[in-house]
Symmetry: D2
Subunit: 356 residues, 4 copies
């Protein structure tokens, strides 16, 4: 009996550091590598590729080790109070493969290995997985998505932005007509698609002229993925498939800051340029879920929360590029109601992914 209402252990008897861990947290944008091929290399069939360019060697060594080290990952989860991690193949992954047939075969092998390592065996209760798909062949992607969900028990799909088609110069965005069969299947499967950034191809970063590393920086990743998202909305995709569920990381890739202004300006645009029926904000609240992966900024968080409400925002890390502990400490230190924290920490993810 301490003589106090609440326990507050600290070095100084009468004060606490006011830090606690919520061990129920779920993390959603968490990268893995594979023995099948090197997914951090843009072009598996050619000799080049960026493979974590621009960053320092210490970082590369640390990250590469953690991409595949299961024990380090579980230890980090334990320290940070993370009950469950949803893993996915790191970028550019399958999307960086030039040849469609290779992409189809590689995706299948990667998904099988992911299932074996993370969804069975010692830590099966600590992991779920998002499947990868070969968008170079959208029908094959639809089939692989179906196999991931129905046979492997994966909880969704993750795509690293645009796909290479045949060479470094040609890319395919997900609003292009040939992707339609994939979207139809995804809507039918009723599982979320995580739209993740990717390392750009050289041709695309032409405008950076001497600052190509910006395209591979969080700013470039955000801009590229936000544009991809806007393309999806503008294309009418969500009128054709109102049941689609898209997840964006990094607090919505900057869109919460701009969404009101974009809708505000679209009042003046000719209708042929905006092929959808509703304002962007309405799709944002119907077809999108957002994670905090990679973000430790309070104002970005508040801005995002106001844009989508507390039922669509989900905490995440972006391990091993970011750190479980750093992101967890930030999240648990922000002031919000306990119910809001539980929603963002794990409840929204459970509901979206139908996990229990």
């Amino acid at each position: 009996m301490s003589g106090k209402i609440f326990e507050s252990p600290s070095e100084r008897p009468t004060f606490s550091a006011n830090r606690w861990r919520q061990p129920q947290k779920i993390a959603l944008e968490e990268a893995i590598t594979t023995s099948v091929f090197n997914p951090t290399n843009t072009l598996p069939e050619t000799k080049g590729g960026a493979e974590l360019p621009y960053v320092d060697e210490d970082y590369v060594v640390d990250v590469k080790n953690r991409l595949s080290n299961l024990e380090l990952r579980v230890q980090a989860m334990d320290r940070a109070g993370v009950a469950l991690t949803v893993v996915s193949l790191t970028m550019p992954g399958i999307e960086g493969i030039f040849d469609a047939k290779t992409a189809v075969e590689t995706a299948r092998k990667v998904n099988d290995e992911t299932h074996r390592i993370y969804c069975t065996g010692k830590y099966a209760d600590r992991f779920r997985a998002l499947g990868c798909v070969p968008m170079q062949d959208p029908k094959a992607a639809a089939a692989e998505a179906t196999r991931c969900i129905n046979e492997l028990g994966f909880v969704g799909i993750l795509i690293n932005g645009y796909s290479q088609i045949g060479d470094a110069e040609t890319v395919q965005y997900l609003d292009e007509p040939q992707c339609e069969p994939f979207w139809a299947t995804l809507e039918e499967l009723d599982v979320p698609l995580y739209l993740h950034p990717r390392i750009p191809t050289p041709g695309q970063s032409r405008i950076y002229r001497g600052y190509e590393f910006l395209a591979g920086s969080p700013w470039g990743f955000g801009v590229e993925t936000a544009m991809h998202t806007i393309r999806l909305i503008v294309s009418g995709l969500f009128d054709r498939h109102p049941g689609l569920k898209i997840i964006l990381g990094h607090c919505g890739e900057g869109l919460p800051f701009s969404l009101a202004r974009i809708d505000h300006r679209l009042r003046h645009f000719q209708p042929q340029h905006y092929k959808s029926k509703l304002r962007m904000q309405e799709y944002w609240e119907r077809n999108f879920w957002i994670t905090t992966a990679g973000v430790t900024s309070d104002t970005a968080f508040v801005d995002t929360l106001r844009s989508c409400g507390e039922d669509r925002l989900m905490w995440s890390v972006d391990y091993p590029y970011e750190d479980y502990d750093e992101c967890g400490t930030w999240f648990e230190g922000m002031e919000m109601s306990q119910s809001t924290r539980a929603k963002i920490g794990w409840e929204n993810a459970k509901r979206l992914f139908k996990m229990q």
Copy 2:
């Protein structure tokens, strides 16, 4: 065909005033008077009483007219996009009656008249009611609450703070032991209690010395009602009756600003002074719902929202002391997601009051 994506009517063709009305809104802290007695008078059995003291005559005349004018009220609701108003007897109401027997009889008559005027007839689809109860006799209050819910179809109970007991000096707060039967019945009925401020009795405002009007100002109302709320929490009431549902108006009577600090300090208090098992914040999120009645401050709103999350906050007006249009314009002008606005505007009220 306007040649624009979205309609934006305004005096200048290409701009809109960016104002809209959401006609589904529900208002919850909306006062009425009664022909049974003068509820703005503290002491019906004696000669004195404040009867809207301190405020100017224009205001008194306007407010008194609107307390009973059904047509003006419905017109104001229509203009402000309010579908439904939940009415309740204005303060101090029954709580200001000295004599218990008079209180019991008066409450019954007031509830019957409220039912007749607001819940039947021409505008029955536009109104719901909160019953008044004679807390001077807690068992009779329990019986009257039961009658209100089961026979009159009221959606909850509203109490204007402490009750006079016998004279101007003696008052009863709702945490006092004799109120227990009332709380047990309320928990069983599973309906919310709105804890509303009241005009203070002269004895209580002794410390204001020359500034008695402060006790009757929104600051005094907030302090008094916040203290009443803290008494309920500290007393252990919500451990004995975990199912109780309390509504506070005015953005939680200032408590969102202080709650973290109160819990922070309670770490150091001797346990005999805090009779409850959980931190205040935990009761706040389990037993309380908050309305914005009387508030048009963005930062107070944001502070409140963070304290309770978006599932427990409900828009309201405090008509006719405040204005439907002023409060509606403020609420609809604040930036938030559509889903959050719908929750706060009407969905949370519907769920709490089991309306539909």
Copy 3:
């Protein structure tokens, strides 16, 4: 040469804890005791007194030690990056002395001892002081304030709320007419007055009935001090003395949450009840400065910042009741611009107190 743009030491080579210390911080609401008398005892001339009531023994022992232990204080300042602490006599201090003559003599002795211990000798560069004054004799208080500023080099005055006058029942608030000579002198001296809470006298907490500890809790302190502040504004004091500078701790004692609503309601009040020319908000921005002493709540901070702007808010601790490290970590972890943090951390205090 680490191969990185910025240094980021941490256990994991590629991540940092993102914590830093700004060693320039100034703390303003920092309590000391004295050998002259026991200032935590309400009534030095009588037998009773609360002397840190309600809180647990560990806390009392720890706090009492730190109130007078100079070395522990400097160590805590060093750890938390606090360059300078402005000390003041803890509550109720002089204000709790019944007899005016005793109050006058005691204040003088306390100020002399404070000067000797904190403003001269080993740590003179780490401390400044606020003087105490015997408001039981306002002219003597004016004289003592003058002596503190002009002879002892103190940077301001601190008053712990109302003063006892003669007995436990009789108190004097600072808006009362007899205080006028003190205010005139303070305006002429052009130094700030810190209006600090105090432990209440038993008579005042009558309305708590069984929850007297609430009056001595942060909620009760805030309410009492906010009411005192409103009395000052309503009384017309700041029209008579527009140059007065008042400091409030604890994020403005809850007033930022309510100020807009109070002004909003005062529209309807009879003019004889509000004796000042301007709205409360205008005095708030002209005559008040706010500290964060005792607060570690982000939303309370944001609310306060919006109410007064970044040139009037100042970080503080409330040592030893609160902890330098806890309050410093909170402040330095909140997201704001560097210029805003420097203003709140030390620049505003330097300007207000004319330090350098």
Copy 4:
């Protein structure tokens, strides 16, 4: 004598619409056209050009009229409480001219006409101007900037993003080495440069594939201008010229949302990719000022304010693309201290532009 403390005129005697106008406001990103050439046309020397593409005809007609109609502009300023407007040539303006010699001559003529119409005559007390410069010839740009400030009395320079050099495919960003003489002169003149977005050239929007209008939308403008800003910071420009003052519109073009994350990630980058000495945040607070032009989003505003503090944010409109009244109503309806509103509304602009 109304019997009220404060006046509150409204249709209902006891309520006010709570709206007021602050007639001292200054607007800074306000576009004009010129009789010298058509500045909304990208390529004056060729046959094509966008000339307000994508938007509807009503909007184009309205905007084109208001770009040159002085009386409409002053009336709009009067209605919205704008004392002073700082005008500048609309985009792409001089930057869209292919031929350097033509650019030099045109800039001179435009500045002379701007001076004649806005800085002399009937409304000279209501306008100030930012000069345009021919960056196709940086030394000539430096000379023209000097003439604008020293001879015409302009208060700064505005540049619409990158400049065409010779043809549609070749562009020049302001961080390129040949721009150095211009920056040296600008630092010496000690006046701000407004870095404004521009309509993109076709070649640049290649990645939009079917969604070119996005490049000309507020999202595309923001991304392009943010990238231009990052290029300036990364290039080391502000280490070479620490006195430069850059203004960004549109709440900092989205950078407040991302700045913390960019700095957070730059920890891991190889130093050769980031040529500057300080973190981005430090340049942001030393070399940048931000306007709200084109923004009416509270959360974007709050995010921006936190990133730069209240001494570097300035209200603006973006007339005639946006509306004085709409932007003024938004700004004056947001809750902030009066001192903060005065700083953002006009005081910061006066200080930055040394007006008075």
